[in-house]
Protein backbone atom coordinates (compact mmCIF):
# COMPACT_ATOMS: atom_id res chain seq x y z
CA UNK A 1 0.00 0.00 0.00
CA UNK A 2 2.85 2.29 0.90
CA UNK A 3 4.08 1.71 -2.64
CA UNK A 4 0.98 3.30 -4.11
CA UNK A 5 0.99 6.31 -1.83
CA UNK A 6 4.68 6.89 -2.45
CA UNK A 7 4.21 6.87 -6.17
CA UNK A 8 0.81 8.47 -6.49
CA UNK A 9 2.07 11.27 -8.71
CA UNK A 10 3.52 8.79 -11.18
CA UNK A 11 0.40 6.64 -11.07
CA UNK A 12 -1.75 9.66 -11.84
CA UNK A 13 0.42 10.40 -14.85
CA UNK A 14 0.11 6.82 -16.06
CA UNK A 15 -3.68 6.80 -15.80
CA UNK A 16 -4.10 10.18 -17.48
CA UNK A 17 -1.64 9.34 -20.26
CA UNK A 18 -3.46 6.10 -21.06
CA UNK A 19 -6.67 8.05 -21.68
CA UNK A 20 -4.85 10.81 -23.53
CA UNK A 21 -2.99 8.36 -25.77
CA UNK A 22 -6.24 6.72 -26.79
CA UNK A 23 -8.07 10.02 -27.23
CA UNK A 24 -5.36 11.72 -29.25
CA UNK A 25 -5.22 9.19 -32.10
CA UNK A 26 -8.82 8.03 -31.93
CA UNK A 27 -9.84 9.33 -35.33
CA UNK A 28 -6.81 8.54 -37.46
CA UNK A 29 -7.60 7.55 -41.08
CA UNK A 30 -6.18 4.21 -42.20
CA UNK A 31 -3.86 5.96 -44.68
CA UNK A 32 -1.89 7.29 -41.73
CA UNK A 33 -1.64 4.07 -39.74
CA UNK A 34 1.90 3.31 -40.79
CA UNK A 35 3.38 6.82 -40.40
CA UNK A 36 1.66 7.10 -37.03
CA UNK A 37 3.11 3.78 -35.92
CA UNK A 38 6.51 4.94 -37.06
CA UNK A 39 6.16 8.31 -35.32
CA UNK A 40 5.08 6.65 -32.08
CA UNK A 41 8.05 4.33 -32.49
CA UNK A 42 10.36 7.35 -32.55
CA UNK A 43 8.68 8.86 -29.48
CA UNK A 44 9.25 5.82 -27.29
CA UNK A 45 12.89 6.32 -28.16
CA UNK A 46 12.70 8.69 -25.17
CA UNK A 47 14.16 5.68 -23.37
CA UNK A 48 17.49 7.15 -24.57
CA UNK A 49 17.28 9.52 -21.60
CA UNK A 50 17.54 6.55 -19.28
CA UNK A 51 20.53 5.33 -21.28
CA UNK A 52 22.24 8.71 -20.96
CA UNK A 53 21.68 8.73 -17.21
CA UNK A 54 23.08 5.20 -16.87
CA UNK A 55 26.10 6.13 -18.94
CA UNK A 56 26.70 9.41 -17.15
CA UNK A 57 26.53 7.83 -13.70
CA UNK A 58 28.76 4.85 -14.40
CA UNK A 59 32.03 4.98 -12.49
CA UNK A 60 35.27 4.75 -14.42
CA UNK A 61 36.20 1.28 -13.20
CA UNK A 62 32.80 -0.31 -13.78
CA UNK A 63 33.39 -1.71 -17.23
CA UNK A 64 30.15 -3.64 -17.39
CA UNK A 65 28.10 -0.49 -16.84
CA UNK A 66 30.28 1.49 -19.23
CA UNK A 67 29.99 -1.02 -22.05
CA UNK A 68 26.28 -1.77 -21.59
CA UNK A 69 25.54 1.93 -21.07
CA UNK A 70 27.41 2.86 -24.22
CA UNK A 71 25.60 0.17 -26.18
CA UNK A 72 22.24 1.37 -24.90
CA UNK A 73 23.05 4.98 -25.86
CA UNK A 74 23.85 3.82 -29.41
CA UNK A 75 20.70 1.68 -29.65
CA UNK A 76 18.49 4.39 -28.16
CA UNK A 77 19.84 7.00 -30.55
CA UNK A 78 19.22 4.65 -33.47
CA UNK A 79 15.63 4.35 -32.34
CA UNK A 80 15.10 8.10 -31.98
CA UNK A 81 16.98 9.41 -35.00
CA UNK A 82 16.11 6.54 -37.35
CA UNK A 83 12.48 6.67 -36.22
CA UNK A 84 11.97 10.36 -36.85
CA UNK A 85 13.84 10.35 -40.17
CA UNK A 86 11.92 7.34 -41.52
CA UNK A 87 8.62 8.90 -40.49
CA UNK A 88 9.57 12.15 -42.19
CA UNK A 89 10.43 10.28 -45.36
CA UNK A 90 7.06 8.54 -45.36
CA UNK A 91 5.20 11.78 -44.80
CA UNK A 92 7.20 13.59 -47.44
CA UNK A 93 5.24 11.54 -49.96
CA UNK A 94 1.98 13.01 -48.77
CA UNK A 95 2.88 16.63 -49.14
CA UNK A 96 3.20 16.57 -52.93
CA UNK A 97 -0.46 16.08 -53.66
CA UNK A 98 -2.30 19.35 -53.87
Amino acid sequence: MQLITDNQQMIYIVVLMIFLGIEVIGRVPSVLHTPLMSGANAIHGVVIIGAIIVMGKASDDNYLALVLGFLSVVLGTLNVVGGFVVTDRMLEMFKKKK
Partner: protein, 475 residues
Protein backbone atom coordinates in the same frame (compact mmCIF):
# COMPACT_ATOMS: atom_id res chain seq x y z
CA UNK B 1 18.37 26.48 -10.92
CA UNK B 2 19.77 23.83 -13.23
CA UNK B 3 17.18 21.34 -12.09
CA UNK B 4 14.35 23.78 -12.67
CA UNK B 5 15.48 24.34 -16.24
CA UNK B 6 15.67 20.57 -16.73
CA UNK B 7 12.11 20.24 -15.42
CA UNK B 8 10.99 22.81 -17.97
CA UNK B 9 12.83 20.89 -20.71
CA UNK B 10 10.96 17.75 -19.71
CA UNK B 11 7.62 19.53 -19.68
CA UNK B 12 8.30 20.87 -23.17
CA UNK B 13 9.26 17.35 -24.24
CA UNK B 14 6.06 15.82 -22.88
CA UNK B 15 3.86 18.46 -24.48
CA UNK B 16 5.50 18.07 -27.89
CA UNK B 17 4.99 14.30 -27.74
CA UNK B 18 1.27 14.73 -27.14
CA UNK B 19 1.01 17.45 -29.77
CA UNK B 20 3.10 15.42 -32.20
CA UNK B 21 0.91 12.34 -31.90
CA UNK B 22 -2.20 14.46 -32.28
CA UNK B 23 -0.89 16.10 -35.44
CA UNK B 24 0.36 12.79 -36.82
CA UNK B 25 -3.18 11.53 -36.98
CA UNK B 26 -4.23 14.18 -39.51
CA UNK B 27 -2.85 14.11 -43.08
CA UNK B 28 -2.45 17.88 -43.28
CA UNK B 29 -0.40 18.33 -40.13
CA UNK B 30 1.32 14.96 -39.92
CA UNK B 31 4.75 16.00 -41.13
CA UNK B 32 4.86 19.04 -38.87
CA UNK B 33 3.76 16.90 -35.94
CA UNK B 34 6.66 14.55 -36.49
CA UNK B 35 9.12 17.44 -36.57
CA UNK B 36 7.65 19.00 -33.43
CA UNK B 37 8.00 15.73 -31.52
CA UNK B 38 11.57 15.43 -32.81
CA UNK B 39 12.32 18.96 -31.59
CA UNK B 40 10.90 18.20 -28.15
CA UNK B 41 12.96 15.03 -28.00
CA UNK B 42 16.14 16.99 -28.81
CA UNK B 43 15.43 19.47 -26.02
CA UNK B 44 14.80 16.67 -23.52
CA UNK B 45 18.00 14.84 -24.54
CA UNK B 46 20.25 17.92 -24.43
CA UNK B 47 18.68 18.96 -21.14
CA UNK B 48 19.46 15.57 -19.66
CA UNK B 49 23.07 15.61 -20.81
CA UNK B 50 23.93 19.02 -19.45
CA UNK B 51 21.55 19.66 -16.57
CA UNK B 52 20.87 16.29 -14.93
CA UNK B 53 21.94 15.93 -11.30
CA UNK B 54 21.99 12.77 -9.21
CA UNK B 55 20.53 12.74 -5.69
CA UNK B 56 23.81 13.88 -4.19
CA UNK B 57 24.03 16.87 -6.51
CA UNK B 58 26.56 15.41 -8.93
CA UNK B 59 26.32 16.13 -12.64
CA UNK B 60 26.80 13.43 -15.23
CA UNK B 61 30.23 12.48 -16.50
CA UNK B 62 31.63 10.18 -19.22
CA UNK B 63 30.75 12.82 -21.80
CA UNK B 64 33.12 11.29 -24.30
CA UNK B 65 31.25 8.00 -24.14
CA UNK B 66 27.85 9.67 -24.29
CA UNK B 67 28.65 11.84 -27.27
CA UNK B 68 30.40 9.14 -29.26
CA UNK B 69 27.39 6.88 -28.64
CA UNK B 70 25.01 9.62 -29.75
CA UNK B 71 27.02 10.39 -32.86
CA UNK B 72 27.43 6.76 -33.90
CA UNK B 73 23.72 6.10 -33.38
CA UNK B 74 22.66 9.26 -35.18
CA UNK B 75 24.87 8.67 -38.20
CA UNK B 76 23.89 5.01 -38.64
CA UNK B 77 20.24 5.79 -37.93
CA UNK B 78 20.08 8.62 -40.46
CA UNK B 79 21.87 6.66 -43.15
CA UNK B 80 19.73 3.57 -42.65
CA UNK B 81 16.51 5.60 -42.65
CA UNK B 82 17.53 7.59 -45.75
CA UNK B 83 18.80 4.65 -47.77
CA UNK B 84 15.95 2.23 -47.13
CA UNK B 85 13.62 1.60 -50.07
CA UNK B 86 9.97 2.58 -49.77
CA UNK B 87 9.01 -1.09 -49.92
CA UNK B 88 11.26 -1.95 -46.98
CA UNK B 89 9.99 0.75 -44.62
CA UNK B 90 7.88 -1.44 -42.34
CA UNK B 91 10.80 -3.72 -41.59
CA UNK B 92 12.98 -0.69 -40.92
CA UNK B 93 10.43 0.57 -38.37
CA UNK B 94 10.44 -2.87 -36.80
CA UNK B 95 14.20 -2.86 -36.51
CA UNK B 96 14.26 0.62 -34.91
CA UNK B 97 11.58 -0.54 -32.51
CA UNK B 98 13.76 -3.50 -31.58
CA UNK B 99 16.66 -1.13 -30.85
CA UNK B 100 14.45 0.78 -28.41
CA UNK B 101 13.44 -2.46 -26.72
CA UNK B 102 17.05 -3.57 -26.41
CA UNK B 103 17.96 -0.16 -25.00
CA UNK B 104 15.29 -0.50 -22.29
CA UNK B 105 16.46 -4.03 -21.44
CA UNK B 106 20.09 -2.92 -21.17
CA UNK B 107 19.24 -0.03 -18.88
CA UNK B 108 17.44 -2.44 -16.59
CA UNK B 109 20.41 -4.80 -16.70
CA UNK B 110 22.81 -2.05 -15.64
CA UNK B 111 20.47 -0.95 -12.85
CA UNK B 112 20.20 -4.52 -11.64
CA UNK B 113 23.96 -4.82 -11.63
CA UNK B 114 24.17 -1.54 -9.72
CA UNK B 115 21.85 -2.77 -7.00
CA UNK B 116 23.50 -6.17 -6.96
CA UNK B 117 26.98 -4.74 -6.45
CA UNK B 118 25.80 -2.47 -3.68
CA UNK B 119 24.13 -5.17 -1.61
CA UNK B 120 26.00 -8.28 -2.64
CA UNK B 121 28.17 -8.45 0.48
CA UNK B 122 25.57 -8.31 3.18
CA UNK B 123 22.38 -9.63 1.72
CA UNK B 124 20.49 -12.80 2.28
CA UNK B 125 18.11 -12.22 -0.54
CA UNK B 126 17.14 -9.32 -2.73
CA UNK B 127 13.82 -9.16 -0.93
CA UNK B 128 15.63 -8.20 2.31
CA UNK B 129 17.32 -5.09 0.96
CA UNK B 130 15.54 -3.89 -2.18
CA UNK B 131 11.92 -2.71 -2.08
CA UNK B 132 9.66 -4.86 -4.23
CA UNK B 133 8.55 -1.87 -6.31
CA UNK B 134 12.10 -1.09 -7.31
CA UNK B 135 12.88 -4.67 -8.29
CA UNK B 136 9.58 -4.98 -10.13
CA UNK B 137 10.37 -1.89 -12.18
CA UNK B 138 13.81 -3.20 -13.09
CA UNK B 139 12.70 -6.67 -14.09
CA UNK B 140 9.54 -5.53 -15.90
CA UNK B 141 11.61 -3.14 -18.03
CA UNK B 142 14.08 -5.93 -18.73
CA UNK B 143 11.45 -8.51 -19.64
CA UNK B 144 9.30 -6.29 -21.83
CA UNK B 145 12.30 -4.73 -23.53
CA UNK B 146 13.77 -8.13 -24.24
CA UNK B 147 10.51 -9.53 -25.65
CA UNK B 148 10.11 -6.46 -27.80
CA UNK B 149 13.67 -6.69 -29.10
CA UNK B 150 13.43 -10.39 -29.99
CA UNK B 151 9.98 -10.03 -31.52
CA UNK B 152 10.96 -7.03 -33.61
CA UNK B 153 14.02 -8.74 -35.02
CA UNK B 154 11.92 -11.77 -35.99
CA UNK B 155 9.29 -9.48 -37.55
CA UNK B 156 12.04 -7.73 -39.48
CA UNK B 157 13.40 -11.07 -40.72
CA UNK B 158 9.94 -12.20 -41.76
CA UNK B 159 9.18 -9.07 -43.72
CA UNK B 160 12.35 -9.30 -45.77
CA UNK B 161 11.94 -13.03 -46.23
CA UNK B 162 14.93 -14.20 -44.20
CA UNK B 163 12.78 -16.02 -41.68
CA UNK B 164 9.96 -18.35 -42.65
CA UNK B 165 6.74 -18.94 -40.77
CA UNK B 166 7.20 -21.67 -38.23
CA UNK B 167 4.49 -23.26 -36.16
CA UNK B 168 3.68 -26.59 -34.59
CA UNK B 169 0.66 -27.98 -32.84
CA UNK B 170 0.18 -26.69 -29.33
CA UNK B 171 2.61 -23.87 -29.85
CA UNK B 172 0.50 -21.40 -27.90
CA UNK B 173 0.59 -23.74 -24.92
CA UNK B 174 4.37 -23.97 -25.14
CA UNK B 175 4.46 -20.18 -25.36
CA UNK B 176 2.32 -19.87 -22.23
CA UNK B 177 4.70 -22.20 -20.42
CA UNK B 178 7.68 -20.11 -21.48
CA UNK B 179 5.92 -16.97 -20.31
CA UNK B 180 5.16 -18.61 -16.98
CA UNK B 181 8.81 -19.61 -16.72
CA UNK B 182 9.89 -16.00 -17.32
CA UNK B 183 7.71 -14.74 -14.45
CA UNK B 184 8.77 -17.65 -12.27
CA UNK B 185 12.47 -16.96 -12.70
CA UNK B 186 11.93 -13.23 -12.20
CA UNK B 187 10.20 -13.95 -8.88
CA UNK B 188 12.81 -16.51 -7.88
CA UNK B 189 15.57 -13.97 -8.50
CA UNK B 190 13.96 -11.65 -5.97
CA UNK B 191 13.24 -14.08 -3.18
CA UNK B 192 16.09 -16.55 -3.47
CA UNK B 193 18.99 -16.31 -1.04
CA UNK B 194 21.35 -17.47 -3.75
CA UNK B 195 24.59 -15.55 -4.09
CA UNK B 196 24.34 -15.70 -7.85
CA UNK B 197 21.16 -13.72 -8.40
CA UNK B 198 22.91 -12.02 -11.29
CA UNK B 199 22.92 -15.30 -13.17
CA UNK B 200 19.23 -15.79 -12.44
CA UNK B 201 18.57 -12.32 -13.74
CA UNK B 202 20.42 -13.20 -16.92
CA UNK B 203 18.23 -16.29 -17.27
CA UNK B 204 15.16 -14.05 -16.91
CA UNK B 205 16.43 -11.86 -19.74
CA UNK B 206 17.25 -14.80 -21.97
CA UNK B 207 13.98 -16.62 -21.43
CA UNK B 208 12.10 -13.37 -22.17
CA UNK B 209 14.10 -13.21 -25.39
CA UNK B 210 13.07 -16.78 -26.26
CA UNK B 211 9.45 -15.88 -25.54
CA UNK B 212 9.69 -12.92 -27.94
CA UNK B 213 10.99 -15.21 -30.68
CA UNK B 214 8.33 -17.86 -30.11
CA UNK B 215 5.61 -15.24 -29.88
CA UNK B 216 6.21 -13.82 -33.36
CA UNK B 217 7.46 -16.92 -35.24
CA UNK B 218 4.08 -18.52 -35.96
CA UNK B 219 2.33 -15.33 -37.05
CA UNK B 220 1.84 -15.00 -40.80
CA UNK B 221 4.01 -12.53 -42.69
CA UNK B 222 0.98 -10.59 -43.92
CA UNK B 223 0.03 -9.77 -40.32
CA UNK B 224 3.43 -8.33 -39.46
CA UNK B 225 2.33 -4.65 -39.47
CA UNK B 226 -0.15 -5.47 -36.71
CA UNK B 227 2.53 -7.31 -34.74
CA UNK B 228 5.02 -4.48 -35.17
CA UNK B 229 2.43 -2.04 -33.91
CA UNK B 230 1.84 -4.25 -30.88
CA UNK B 231 5.57 -4.60 -30.15
CA UNK B 232 5.80 -0.85 -30.60
CA UNK B 233 3.42 -0.33 -27.70
CA UNK B 234 5.39 -2.92 -25.69
CA UNK B 235 8.53 -0.86 -26.09
CA UNK B 236 6.54 2.18 -25.02
CA UNK B 237 5.65 0.43 -21.77
CA UNK B 238 9.26 -0.68 -21.29
CA UNK B 239 10.36 2.95 -21.68
CA UNK B 240 7.75 3.96 -19.11
CA UNK B 241 9.25 1.51 -16.59
CA UNK B 242 12.53 3.29 -17.20
CA UNK B 243 10.68 6.47 -16.23
CA UNK B 244 9.61 4.86 -12.96
CA UNK B 245 13.17 3.75 -12.33
CA UNK B 246 14.62 7.25 -12.56
CA UNK B 247 11.50 9.07 -11.44
CA UNK B 248 11.68 10.71 -14.83
CA UNK B 249 8.38 12.21 -15.99
CA UNK B 250 9.23 12.69 -19.64
CA UNK B 251 10.16 9.02 -20.07
CA UNK B 252 6.99 8.06 -18.26
CA UNK B 253 4.77 10.35 -20.36
CA UNK B 254 6.34 9.39 -23.67
CA UNK B 255 6.36 5.69 -22.86
CA UNK B 256 2.79 5.40 -21.60
CA UNK B 257 1.49 7.66 -24.36
CA UNK B 258 2.99 5.37 -27.00
CA UNK B 259 1.91 2.29 -25.06
CA UNK B 260 -1.73 3.44 -25.05
CA UNK B 261 -1.78 4.92 -28.55
CA UNK B 262 0.09 1.91 -29.93
CA UNK B 263 -2.43 -0.50 -28.42
CA UNK B 264 -5.33 1.42 -29.90
CA UNK B 265 -3.55 1.67 -33.25
CA UNK B 266 -3.02 -2.10 -33.22
CA UNK B 267 -6.73 -2.59 -32.74
CA UNK B 268 -7.57 -0.06 -35.47
CA UNK B 269 -5.29 -1.93 -37.87
CA UNK B 270 -7.02 -5.20 -37.05
CA UNK B 271 -10.35 -3.51 -37.63
CA UNK B 272 -9.22 -2.31 -41.06
CA UNK B 273 -8.66 -5.96 -41.92
CA UNK B 274 -11.91 -6.98 -40.25
CA UNK B 275 -10.12 -9.31 -37.86
CA UNK B 276 -9.70 -9.50 -34.14
CA UNK B 277 -6.32 -9.23 -32.48
CA UNK B 278 -6.78 -12.71 -31.10
CA UNK B 279 -7.34 -14.02 -34.60
CA UNK B 280 -4.11 -12.40 -35.78
CA UNK B 281 -2.07 -13.69 -32.86
CA UNK B 282 -3.25 -17.29 -32.70
CA UNK B 283 -5.25 -17.60 -35.91
CA UNK B 284 -2.20 -18.84 -37.77
CA UNK B 285 -2.60 -22.28 -36.26
CA UNK B 286 -5.54 -23.04 -38.51
CA UNK B 287 -3.59 -22.26 -41.64
CA UNK B 288 -2.34 -25.79 -42.22
CA UNK B 289 -5.58 -27.56 -43.05
CA UNK B 290 -6.62 -24.63 -45.23
CA UNK B 291 -3.68 -25.20 -47.53
CA UNK B 292 -4.78 -28.70 -48.43
CA UNK B 293 -8.29 -27.50 -49.16
CA UNK B 294 -7.08 -24.73 -51.43
CA UNK B 295 -4.67 -26.96 -53.31
CA UNK B 296 -7.51 -28.95 -54.81
CA UNK B 297 -9.06 -25.97 -56.54
CA UNK B 298 -6.36 -25.77 -59.21
CA UNK B 299 -7.66 -25.38 -62.71
CA UNK B 300 -6.59 -23.86 -65.97
CA UNK B 301 -6.06 -20.18 -66.51
CA UNK B 302 -5.88 -18.22 -69.73
CA UNK B 303 -3.25 -15.75 -70.76
CA UNK B 304 -3.78 -12.51 -72.61
CA UNK B 305 -1.27 -10.76 -74.87
CA UNK B 306 -0.04 -7.22 -74.34
CA UNK B 307 -1.67 -6.21 -77.58
CA UNK B 308 -5.09 -7.41 -76.59
CA UNK B 309 -4.79 -5.86 -73.17
CA UNK B 310 -3.87 -2.50 -74.67
CA UNK B 311 -6.86 -2.66 -77.02
CA UNK B 312 -9.26 -3.62 -74.23
CA UNK B 313 -8.00 -0.79 -72.06
CA UNK B 314 -8.06 1.83 -74.80
CA UNK B 315 -11.62 1.06 -75.86
CA UNK B 316 -13.04 0.80 -72.37
CA UNK B 317 -15.20 3.48 -70.79
CA UNK B 318 -14.02 2.91 -67.29
CA UNK B 319 -10.87 1.20 -66.06
CA UNK B 320 -10.14 0.40 -62.43
CA UNK B 321 -6.56 -0.24 -61.38
CA UNK B 322 -5.94 -2.41 -58.30
CA UNK B 323 -2.36 -1.85 -57.12
CA UNK B 324 -0.63 -4.30 -54.80
CA UNK B 325 2.75 -5.25 -53.49
CA UNK B 326 3.93 -6.28 -56.98
CA UNK B 327 3.62 -2.66 -58.09
CA UNK B 328 5.64 -1.52 -55.09
CA UNK B 329 8.42 -4.08 -55.63
CA UNK B 330 8.72 -3.22 -59.31
CA UNK B 331 8.74 0.53 -58.41
CA UNK B 332 6.18 0.90 -61.18
CA UNK B 333 4.14 3.72 -59.64
CA UNK B 334 5.42 6.40 -62.06
CA UNK B 335 4.81 4.37 -65.20
CA UNK B 336 1.42 3.44 -63.78
CA UNK B 337 0.58 7.12 -63.54
CA UNK B 338 1.67 7.54 -67.15
CA UNK B 339 -0.61 4.73 -68.26
CA UNK B 340 -3.43 6.45 -66.43
CA UNK B 341 -2.73 9.76 -68.22
CA UNK B 342 -2.53 8.07 -71.62
CA UNK B 343 -5.85 6.35 -71.06
CA UNK B 344 -7.48 9.58 -69.90
CA UNK B 345 -6.35 11.28 -73.10
CA UNK B 346 -8.27 8.63 -74.98
CA UNK B 347 -11.35 9.45 -72.98
CA UNK B 348 -11.17 6.50 -70.61
CA UNK B 349 -12.13 7.07 -66.99
CA UNK B 350 -9.45 5.69 -64.68
CA UNK B 351 -9.69 5.06 -60.95
CA UNK B 352 -7.53 3.27 -58.43
CA UNK B 353 -9.13 0.85 -56.01
CA UNK B 354 -7.17 0.94 -52.77
CA UNK B 355 -7.51 -1.88 -50.30
CA UNK B 356 -6.56 -0.67 -46.80
CA UNK B 357 -3.98 -3.42 -46.33
CA UNK B 358 -2.72 -3.75 -49.91
CA UNK B 359 1.06 -3.94 -49.93
CA UNK B 360 3.03 -4.55 -46.79
CA UNK B 361 1.53 -1.92 -44.52
CA UNK B 362 -1.71 0.01 -44.19
CA UNK B 363 -1.58 3.06 -46.43
CA UNK B 364 1.32 1.65 -48.44
CA UNK B 365 -0.42 2.19 -51.79
CA UNK B 366 -1.51 5.72 -50.98
CA UNK B 367 2.05 6.69 -50.16
CA UNK B 368 3.39 5.01 -53.27
CA UNK B 369 0.90 6.58 -55.66
CA UNK B 370 1.18 9.97 -54.00
CA UNK B 371 4.89 9.77 -54.74
CA UNK B 372 4.05 9.42 -58.43
CA UNK B 373 1.75 12.48 -58.28
CA UNK B 374 -1.44 10.51 -58.79
CA UNK B 375 -4.33 12.81 -57.96
CA UNK B 376 -5.82 12.12 -54.56
CA UNK B 377 -9.44 11.94 -55.75
CA UNK B 378 -8.59 9.09 -58.14
CA UNK B 379 -7.87 6.84 -55.18
CA UNK B 380 -11.06 5.12 -54.12
CA UNK B 381 -11.37 3.46 -50.75
CA UNK B 382 -12.57 -0.10 -50.63
CA UNK B 383 -16.30 0.44 -50.11
CA UNK B 384 -16.52 3.11 -52.76
CA UNK B 385 -14.44 1.03 -55.15
CA UNK B 386 -16.70 -1.99 -54.73
CA UNK B 387 -19.61 0.19 -55.92
CA UNK B 388 -17.64 1.38 -58.93
CA UNK B 389 -16.58 -2.10 -60.06
CA UNK B 390 -20.17 -2.76 -61.15
CA UNK B 391 -19.87 -0.25 -63.95
CA UNK B 392 -16.21 -0.86 -64.83
CA UNK B 393 -15.24 -2.45 -68.15
CA UNK B 394 -11.75 -3.57 -67.26
CA UNK B 395 -10.10 -4.14 -63.92
CA UNK B 396 -6.31 -4.17 -64.10
CA UNK B 397 -4.74 -5.87 -61.08
CA UNK B 398 -1.08 -4.98 -60.64
CA UNK B 399 0.63 -7.39 -58.28
CA UNK B 400 -2.22 -7.60 -55.79
CA UNK B 401 -3.34 -11.04 -54.72
CA UNK B 402 -4.78 -11.70 -51.27
CA UNK B 403 -6.85 -8.50 -51.27
CA UNK B 404 -8.81 -9.73 -54.30
CA UNK B 405 -9.01 -13.40 -53.30
CA UNK B 406 -12.67 -14.52 -53.35
CA UNK B 407 -11.81 -17.22 -50.80
CA UNK B 408 -12.06 -14.49 -48.16
CA UNK B 409 -15.80 -14.46 -48.82
CA UNK B 410 -16.57 -18.03 -49.75
CA UNK B 411 -14.14 -20.39 -48.03
CA UNK B 412 -14.46 -20.55 -44.23
CA UNK B 413 -11.32 -22.71 -43.99
CA UNK B 414 -9.17 -20.04 -45.62
CA UNK B 415 -6.84 -18.14 -43.28
CA UNK B 416 -8.05 -14.86 -44.73
CA UNK B 417 -11.73 -15.77 -44.41
CA UNK B 418 -13.71 -12.76 -43.25
CA UNK B 419 -11.30 -10.14 -44.54
CA UNK B 420 -13.18 -7.67 -46.73
CA UNK B 421 -11.87 -7.79 -50.30
CA UNK B 422 -12.11 -5.79 -53.48
CA UNK B 423 -14.89 -7.46 -55.43
CA UNK B 424 -13.28 -7.18 -58.84
CA UNK B 425 -15.47 -9.86 -60.37
CA UNK B 426 -18.35 -7.44 -60.63
CA UNK B 427 -16.56 -5.82 -63.56
CA UNK B 428 -16.90 -7.09 -67.12
CA UNK B 429 -13.30 -8.19 -67.43
CA UNK B 430 -10.36 -8.75 -65.11
CA UNK B 431 -6.72 -8.62 -66.20
CA UNK B 432 -4.20 -9.81 -63.62
CA UNK B 433 -0.57 -8.82 -63.91
CA UNK B 434 1.73 -11.07 -61.89
CA UNK B 435 5.23 -12.34 -62.31
CA UNK B 436 4.19 -16.00 -62.10
CA UNK B 437 1.41 -18.22 -60.81
CA UNK B 438 2.99 -18.40 -57.37
CA UNK B 439 0.55 -17.74 -54.52
CA UNK B 440 0.59 -14.39 -52.74
CA UNK B 441 2.12 -13.33 -49.49
CA UNK B 442 -0.29 -15.23 -47.28
CA UNK B 443 0.65 -18.38 -49.23
CA UNK B 444 -2.86 -19.24 -50.39
CA UNK B 445 -4.07 -20.10 -53.86
CA UNK B 446 -6.32 -17.57 -55.53
CA UNK B 447 -9.39 -18.88 -57.31
CA UNK B 448 -9.82 -15.59 -59.08
CA UNK B 449 -7.07 -16.49 -61.56
CA UNK B 450 -9.03 -19.50 -62.79
CA UNK B 451 -12.34 -17.75 -63.28
CA UNK B 452 -13.71 -17.32 -66.82
CA UNK B 453 -13.66 -13.53 -66.61
CA UNK B 454 -10.00 -13.43 -65.65
CA UNK B 455 -7.02 -13.21 -67.98
CA UNK B 456 -3.42 -13.40 -66.88
CA UNK B 457 -0.73 -11.02 -68.08
CA UNK B 458 2.60 -12.31 -66.82
CA UNK B 459 5.70 -10.17 -66.29
CA UNK B 460 7.34 -7.58 -64.11
CA UNK B 461 4.85 -4.76 -63.46
CA UNK B 462 7.20 -2.01 -64.60
CA UNK B 463 8.10 -3.65 -67.92
CA UNK B 464 4.55 -4.69 -68.66
CA UNK B 465 3.21 -1.22 -67.96
CA UNK B 466 5.91 0.38 -70.11
CA UNK B 467 4.95 -1.87 -73.01
CA UNK B 468 1.26 -1.22 -72.40
CA UNK B 469 1.84 2.53 -72.57
CA UNK B 470 3.65 2.14 -75.90
CA UNK B 471 0.92 -0.08 -77.29
CA UNK B 472 -1.84 2.26 -76.19
CA UNK B 473 -0.19 5.17 -77.97
CA UNK B 474 -0.42 3.13 -81.17
CA UNK B 475 -4.02 2.06 -80.80
Amino acid sequence: MQLHILTICYIIGSVTFILGLKMLSNPLTARKGNLIAAGGMTIAILGTIFLYETEDGQGLHNYLWIFSGLIIGAVIGTLAAKKVKMTAMPEMVSLFNGMGGACAALISAVEFDHVYREYRLDMNSFADVVPFGHYFTISAGAIIGSVSFAGSVIAWGKLNGRIKDFSFNGQHIVNLIILGFVFGVAGFTYWTSSSVTNIWFLITLLSAFVYGVMFVLPIGGADMPVVISLLNSFTGVAAAFGGFLYNNKVMLTGGILVGAAGTLLTMLMCKAMNRSLQNVLIGSFGAKNAKSAAATTQGSYKEISLNDTATCLAYANKVMIVPGYGLAVAQAQHICHELEKNLEEKGVQVFYAIHPVAGRMPGHMNVLLAEADVSYDKLLEMEHANEEFKTADVVLILGANDVVNPAAKSDPSSPIYGMPILEVEQAKMVVVNKRSMKPGYAGIENDLFFRPKTSMLFGDAKKVLQQLVNEIKNV
